[in-house]
């Protein structure tokens, strides 16, 4: 290959890479609202969530070549974010991890709320209206983090079990068991708050 042909092919390669990079950054930025929504519930505060999202995008933009085009970019970004969150030591540990978890059945919340309505036979929306937005936010924040991470990814982030397993680097069976237990803990917390309200 002549020198000028090789220079042309090198410039073409550089131009293609620049386009791929721009495309990657645009696609990643389009997902930022969704990434923030998950981050906000993984982190203890709004400031922590904002730092976490900013660091995630800094790292993602630096290591964009590691992303395989066509794969789930949102899951890739969340993988970076959860790793950063763990590296930060999850600063605020709101709930001791050693607490024994009072397991209640899946229908615990419904049964409890229904029992406390006057006619004992309310529809779902009327029962749910007894939970304030703040009480829901607090009830979720009080779920121990291993369980909360899975609930946030699957129920808030709407990730599949498989994506959540990949993001958290845990087996899919662990995702399912933590989800099962975590949702029960969440409902127990909600029931306590609804009754306390």
């Amino acid at each position: 290959m002549s020198e000028s042909a090789s220079t042309t092919s090198e410039s073409r390669r550089i131009a293609e890479e620049a386009r791929a990079r721009v495309r990657f950054e645009e696609e990643a930025l389009e997902l930022s609202e969704q990434v923030y929504r998950v981050a906000r519930r993984l982190a203890g505060s709004r400031d922590d969530a904002e730092d976490l999202v900013q660091q995630t995008y800094e790292r993602a933009f630096r290591s964009w070549r590691q992303y395989t085009p066509g794969t789930n970019l949102r899951a890739w970004l969340l993988r970076i974010l959860t790793n950063l969150n763990i590296d930060r030591g999850r600063r605020q540990q709101r709930t001791p991890q050693t607490t024994s978890i009072d397991e209640a059945g899946d229908y615990f919340l419904y049964n409890k709320l229904e029992a406390s309505t006057q006619d004992g036979n309310a529809d779902s929306d009327r029962v749910l209206e007894r939970l304030s937005q703040d009480s829901i936010v607090d009830a979720l924040a009080e779920v121990p983090h291993d369980f909360r991470d899975v609930i946030v990814l699957v129920d808030i982030g709407e990730f599949s079990y498989a994506d959540a397993a990949q993001i958290l680097d845990i087996p899919i069976g662990t995702v399912m068991s933590r989800l099962h237990r975590g949702r029960r803990i969440l409902k127990k917390n909600l029931a306590d708050k609804a009754v306390a309200a």
Binding site: A18, R21, V22, E25, L29, S32, E33, Y36, R37, R40, R41, R46, E50, V53, Q54, Y57, E58, F61, G105, D106, Y107, L109, Y110, S124, D125, V127, L128, L131, Q133, I136, V137, L140, V154, D155, I156, Y161, M176, L179, H180, R183, L186, K187
Partner: protein
Amino acid sequence: MSECEKCEEMMQPFLDGALSTDEVAEAERHLERCSWCAKRYRFEERLRHYVRVAVSEPMSPELKEKLAALRTPLT
């Protein structure tokens, strides 16, 4: 295990879309017959939506700007 107990066990994977076609059909057959379980399924479905909406907080415009500023400048 009673049919209602089995139905309770299937509820979370049912709502996650993680059951097989046969299991979905089995759960739906029971829900058609059993208003006690049907009411609880409806509640759980609504609860998930309610929680998702309640804990969703929009990103601040400042953060959005900061993220946009991280982009590689076009040369």
